[in-house]
Amino acid sequence: MKTRIVGWVAFAAVTLMVLVALFVVPADLNQGDAQRIMYPHVASAWLAYLSFGVTALAGIGWLWRRDLRFDSVALAGAEIGVMFTAFAIWGGMMWGRPVWGVFWQWEDPRLTTTALLLALYVGYLLLRRLTDDPDRRATRAAIVGIVAAVDIPIVHFSVEWWRGLHQTATIGSPDKILNPAAPAQFVLTLVGMVLAFTLVWTYLMIRRYQLAQADLANEEAARVDRIMEARAVEASR
């Protein structure tokens, strides 16, 4: 019931913020209306970081406590993170074409490290399908999830460390949080969209965790069935 309330609040918040981003906040003087794409693009990128961060922490939790609930959280983070990374890349491409003149540039460190992030976590999800043993699967996934998380700070700070096409942080760096490089109404809309997306993320994480737990229970029931069948065959001989 509480999860359902979170879902409806998230839906209302996202609907409101889409209307604000598309029809209330003015267009940027230089970028024009294409700048409106920045709101869901930045929110998606933030949630990609958060999701993969949760996957890494849950991986540590599994290795430490050997509790499969951690693995379910890790799976939820990876799957949802892949989706938000894809959204961030797609939104960035749709913004890049009218503003930069290109959809993509492989020489740009932010773009390339983000593509690598997507590939790493698609690999993580594929790796999980290689074995049916829940413990072995959780251990392999935890190691990959922790190692892959090294790319998160590289993606974030790539715009500060190397020169490229992608601009530096507008508000997401320590020196710009209190002094953002954008007008207040743009920043407030962006913060609103990030909060609305985070509510959606919370709802999706809970539901994906519940699904992972249900799948684990089904796997366990199937395993017990197989053992019982084998014993019945043995007894009938």
């Binding site: 996202v14 598309l22 267009a27 939104g91 749709m94 999706l204």
Partner: protein, 32 residues
């Protein structure tokens, strides 16, 4: 509004994708 095609493509894929994932997740949970 300028660049309508790019804005529609971005918002359509992101919010359409979110809606699709949410519905798929909800249906998979109901089947369990």
């Amino acid at each position: 509004m300028t660049d309508v095609g790019y804005i529609l493509a971005a918002y359509g894929v992101i919010f359409g994708g979110l809606a699709l994932y949410t519905v798929t997740l909800w249906r998979r949970l109901r089947r369990r």
